[in-house]
Symmetry: C2
Subunit: 281 residues, 2 copies
């Protein structure tokens, strides 16, 4: 990537807007495509895009196109609009699950455009360009999820883009490992927070709430349009993680029921030990 590299961003929501913000601040020429005219106006006003609109032909001069679309419109968008992409250009994305997306995109994509899958782990519960801000990337993880067919050029280019956006850790990972990890660390934890919040209908309890409950349920505030799609796309792994977690819950339930103080103690020592690996380094 050099300063002549032209970047197109499709979907200027909270992630796409943050990409446009960071890349334009770093001196790149950014083109934005979004169906919402107000979003485009705002992005122009802030200097995040040089040109933009709802017309995908705007992307025809872009060397890199970043799709920041929701997963269930991403593949359809490619089918309808890939004719406007520049021959030899790179297509990348921000989708939170990978196996099915990579297969689906590569099944339909033109041979002269290369898709390299990425996952910037910097999503938040908020939606829309009003919450976009490239500072969210600082210290965050950026995962590159290549297939065996991806070129070194593609991997190197998205790595450079992540560096320009100031991501804290940039790492390559296989689609299987990615989806397994996300199923446990992110998707299962969101299902837990949502279920905990829905399990008890008593807003009066809020006055007694301590920080632990607040911490645990912060992510129960969740983008309800995006996450169900991500859950379905990672259904196999996520169901396994739910079953494994619910098995642990039932095991602990039995220990309480049997008043097995020693058995509980072992579980608590084990969780305390394991948690130590997850302290911030």
């Amino acid at each position: 990537m050099d300063r002549n590299t032209k970047i197109g961003i499709v979907g200027l929501g909270v992630l796409g807007g943050s990409y446009a913000c960071g890349l334009s601040e770093a001196g790149f020429s950014v083109t934005g495509v979004d169906i919402d005219a107000e979003t485009i106006s705002l992005a122009k006003e802030r200097g995040w895009i040089e040109e933009g609109g709802s017309d995908p032909t705007l992307l025809s001069s872009c060397d890199i196109v970043v799709s920041c679309l929701y997963p269930n419109v991403f593949v359809q968008w490619i089918q309808e609009n890939q004719k406007y992409l520049k021959s030899g250009s790179l297509l990348t994305d921000v989708t939170g699950v990978k196996r099915k997306i990579i297969t689906a995109v590569n099944d339909v994509l033109r041979d002269d455009v290369e898709f390299i899958a990425c996952h910037p782990m910097a999503g938040r519960e908020s939606k829309g360009i009003l919450y976009a801000d490239s500072s969210r990337f600082i210290h965050a993880n950026f995962l590159i999820v290549p297939t065996e067919n991806n070129t070194e050029y593609a991997k190197q280019t998205v790595r450079e883009m992540a560096e320009i956006l100031q991501f804290g850790h940039i790492k390559e990972i296989s689609a299987e490992m990615h989806d397994r990890m996300i199923g446990y660390l992110s998707q299962l934890t969101h299902v837990i927070a949502v279920s905990l919040m829905n399990a008890n209908d008593n807003p009066d309890l809020s006055e007694f709430t301590g920080d632990s409950f607040r911490d645990l349920t912060r992510i129960a505030n969740i983008n309800e349009s995006l996450w169900p799609q991500l859950f379905i796309l990672n259904k196999d792994y996520l169901l396994e993680e739910i079953d494994s977690f619910c098995g642990e819950m039932q095991a602990f339930r039995s220990l309480i029921e049997n008043e097995d103080e020693e058995g509980m103690k072992e579980k608590l020592i084990s969780s305390t030990e394991r948690r130590k690996h997850f302290e911030k380094k």
Copy 2:
């Protein structure tokens, strides 16, 4: 309470030590009883207690005695040592569950000593006087859990003590409501964090961990000696909360399995709505 009120604290761990710290700083004469000689030396060195040792007769001149003992030694301690308490004195506690403790204490306690149950909601995963510090009480909740037999004097006295210790919210609540609330907000959330941590044995995942997972599992680092006792003492309510939560997990699991995007959306909207009540005010 005035500055002549003499306060005794039994068990100078993280909570007892913090009480001694806050009350001595506010100008009260504090006596400490602990079986650990080093703990007593440290409390004296820091000026948190005027006198102290392992001898319970030290408490004979105290107007208020705060038991900061673990629940399963608390009642036995009363049986063995109540003869040293001053006639007309108040006995209070810091135990995290209430129904069984209140009954058990009142069953054995002398008639000329009044027990008034309290729960300072300021525990942490740490143990011992080295982690004691009265600043933990600022903004925390202090719950007074009276029975119909408690005097206004007792309720007023512990309220004043909580004010002196700078608790953020001081509130009276029944033992039933207290244990129900604690079963959901605190105990269930700890069982969840522990089970989540124990459900997946992969320390390699830590490099990908985002803040949501860290927030959710912070409390998986837990005092393994204390919590099993608290779980058992609140077993009936806690098992109900676990069953209600696991029911929600299974309901969400079915929605994922059936790829019911709309059904999931409803659950996420509901959890987002409910979570709003729990924002810090």
